[in-house]
Subunit: 101 residues, 4 copies
């Protein structure tokens, strides 16, 4: 089952800056061979359900190993069986509707 | 790795009522032997990471089999390594702070 | 416009324990005369759109005044115009479907 | 109070395609003079708290007027008082940490 995910990881107990941890997650996702796109409030990921969630679990494990005692993660999870849809398809679909061409 | 999850599953393309699908998820979670609590906007689940995410995957699979072409799920995922904490502990902690006793 | 909200406030830069801040939010919501229910991963709130969002803004203001330099809040926002629905109605609807009676 | 928001609006009871509604929200946000960026699972918005939430309320009102009986919105809300931070700053901060230059 293919899944499109929006991942936002917030480590707690490590001060206000979380970008160091997000950068590590980016690497884990990339090393897993998953397509992803960073945005200002998270990372969109595209792939097989098991692969994507294995990468997210790895993010939690590594961030705890780094030093974060607690992690709060917010996820949006999209699956559909009526058609194939990529992350780019979702953006293109909105752009077409608003008349970008 | 233990995880506390807040799961909110929204099937699309099946009309406005989603309670039938939430009820099915409740059964899947319960059958998996996981502790959970239904609330007005989701279901809190407590358990081992792999068991909890296997149940969530099963929810997506079954809801698609029922008839939903598309599913949007919103998750809050909490892990911590500084101490053991249950769903009830989290509620008790707030109640103590606000002086319920 | 009536709204049902699931609010989860996570202050950053104040250590791992956030229950003190959640307790303050509970009081702000209650003082605003809004119906709410605490659960393990957030607080469900029911009320008029403007009243509910004024209370959420007040939560951010007060938590910053307390000492938190940064706040990450996760919200689920439900509106519907086809029927009246309360927080309790949502729970009852699922319970009926799963056959609790 | 400045806020950075990640907005994901999901209308229910209108079939599986939601891009038409997202495009309308994009226009509402743009007409409100707010900076925003569309991504595959939402729209990041930057602005004053009251302006941003007024635009989100308007999105709900207009989508209901279009035909959607029910709307489920997922929001990530970021405020901070320790420093000024834009949507682009957040992305740049992660890119610097992962060594993009």
């Amino acid at each position: 089952m293919k899944v499109l995910i929006d991942l936002c990881v917030v480590p707690l107990g490590v001060g206000v800056s979380v970008s160091k941890y997000v950068a590590v997650c980016e690497k884990i996702i990339s090393d897993a061979g998953l397509k992803s796109n960073l945005h200002a409030n998270g990372t969109n990921i595209e792939g097989d359900w098991d692969d994507v969630f294995a990468a997210i679990k790895r993010c939690h494990e590594v961030i705890h190993e780094m030093d974060a005692p607690r992690i709060f993660t917010s996820l949006r999870v999209n699956t559909r069986i009526d058609k194939e849809q990529s992350l780019q398809d979702k953006i293109d679909s909105v752009k077409t509707k608003r008349g970008d061409s």
